[in-house]
């Protein structure tokens, strides 16, 4: 069985959680004997073709063409993905991740006459709090609908996303499979001096609360910051570390600065995996994909 997997990010090109998701999924499938070809975008100083046991990574050009807008850029690199995919022989199944590879996934489904499945990690309507404001957002929404419609099955990572697909894209319930994102406890075995690492961020008497995620609305960094400021008004023995990049980062930093609690926060931006694992080790509370979890914690 040969699986063609389409994803716009794959390590070392990491934009959000999708790269890690596709990396571990493709690796696990290859270990189970499935022949996997991942078609993804290029990255500086990374080979265009990597061939391992049952796992082939093909990186196509993400640049070298003018794009008038984000959607045009996405469709153009999809065309490069289609061209690369048509070089593959005996494909049994196509797996597209998010609308960013929908054009390639749908086109290949019809040209190769092979089944298409999709994982939809989030929806445009969800990202925009239910309201589509401009032509780009409406375009993306429509492409997401089409991807779900053309797919034989749609995978989501939570029951919340399942309900979003049913409400926003009209996907029938029995077409959706919920497969939560996993963790890999064997990925890294750290030999850490916890106290030494912790002292990079906090005093010994302080607790460390960690947020990891892109600084975008749907990840809830604003909820995290609001909760943190509320907590700091009652107790001072806490430090908050926010890992991740995104358009909300600057406004949240400004908010923290204006609150007078700026010395209680670290906005690290993007960090390497090793530093992230260290932070997971030393923190007292971690907030992952959904910032709202902090409130529960």
């Amino acid at each position: 069985m040969k699986l063609l997997m389409l994803s716009w990010e794959y390590p070392p090109r990491i934009v959000g959680g999708l790269a890690r998701h596709v990396y571990w999924l493709s690796k696990a499938l290859a270990q189970r004997g499935v022949e996997v070809t991942v078609i993804t975008l290029d990255y500086p100083e990374t080979p265009g073709l990597e061939q391992g046991r049952n796992l082939k990574i093909v990186r196509v050009a993400s640049h070298g063409f003018t794009s008038s807008d984000f959607a045009s850029w996405v469709h153009q690199f999809n065309l490069n993905m289609i061209e690369a995919a048509l070089e593959e022989e005996d494909v049994s199944l196509i797996h597209a991740h998010d609308w960013l590879t929908a054009t390639a996934g749908i086109t290949l489904k019809h040209l190769l006459r092979k089944p298409l499945i999709a994982t939809i990690h989030s929806t445009e309507r969800g990202r925009r709090r239910g309201v589509l404001h401009d032509p780009l957002q409406r375009h993306i929404h429509e492409v997401e609908w089409w991807l779900a419609y053309e797919s034989w099955r749609v995978i989501v990572c939570s029951n919340y996303m399942k309900s979003e697909l049913m409400r926003f894209l009209g996907v029938p319930e029995d077409k959706i499979s919920v497969i939560p994102n996993g963790i890999n406890p064997f990925e890294v075995k750290l030999q850490l001096d916890v106290r030494r690492v912790k002292r990079r961020y906090a005093e010994d008497w302080e607790k460390v609360v960690l947020f990891v995620g892109r600084m975008v609305y749907e990840k809830g960094p604003h909820v995290f910051v609001d909760a943190a400021l509320s907590l700091l008004s009652r107790r001072q023995d806490v430090k908050f570390v926010l890992v991740g990049e995104g358009p909300m980062r600057k406004s949240l930093m400004d908010k923290v600065y204006r609150s007078g609690f700026w010395h209680k926060f670290y906005f690290t931006g993007f960090v390497e995996d090793i530093e992230l694992y260290e932070l997971y080790e030393v923190c007292d509370v971690a907030s992952g994909v959904i910032g709202r979890l902090l409130l529960v914690a």
Binding site: D69, A71, I82, L111, H139
Partner: protein
């Protein structure tokens, strides 16, 4: 019944000046004994035969678009669906001898057909972006870039006017031996026949 010799024409425009060229060229080729199938956008997904030419309508799914580039590129899946049906139920893909595309919009879709079928692609160019717009907007640059890409991906460019011919050579650096000019559908059909008869 499957025909022996098929020319596949791909166009984004079926009305107006380009649409007239598509219809006239196809009719001329049909009169010379070729079976011509034309893929073009429409509101349904059916086939209609007119004057020896088969028009395969392609229903377009994505209606909310930002500009012409996203409209055409988002329709790749629709054209793939139409080709899939055409070559699964009506024609043996090995019988396709040639693909003709019209303008950059058609050549974008025609390039997909070329890659899929492995047949030569002729692109008919009535006008290039610099003839249509004086702007230096991002969209205009985007279209110019796509024209550059697909003109070079085509095996032969047939300009439909003297100005288009001159610009294809000068602005897009298409080599002389890869560009021809056809001022009528009769000229176009003769060029097509030449290509089909060449070894």
């Amino acid at each position: 019944m499957w025909c022996e010799l098929l020319i596949l024409a791909v166009t984004w425009h079926i009305d107006g000046t380009i649409g007239s060229l598509v219809r006239e060229d196809s009719k001329e080729l049909a009169n010379r004994g070729y079976d011509v199938a034309v893929l073009h956008p429409w509101h349904d997904d059916v086939s209609v035969r007119e004057g020896g030419v088969m028009y395969r309508h392609v229903a377009i799914t994505i209606k909310d678009n930002i500009n012409i580039v996203t409209s055409v590129m988002a329709a790749l899946g629709d054209f793939a669906r139409a080709m899939s049906e055409l070559f699964h139920e009506r024609y043996d893909p090995s019988h396709v001898k040639l693909i003709i595309s019209y303008e950059w919009t058609g050549s974008l879709l025609g390039s997909l057909a070329k890659k899929f079928l492995g047949r030569p692609l002729i692109t008919s160019i009535y006008s290039v972006e610099s003839m249509r717009s004086n702007e230096k907007s991002l969209l205009s640059l985007n279209i110019h870039g796509l024209e550059m890409r697909f003109l070079h991906y085509s095996d032969l460019i047939v300009a439909r006017s003297g100005e288009a011919y001159a610009r294809v050579l000068a602005e897009y650096r298409v080599p002389n031996d890869k560009a021809k000019m056809a001022l009528s559908s009769r000229d176009m059909a003769s060029i097509v026949m030449e290509v089909l008869e060449s070894p």
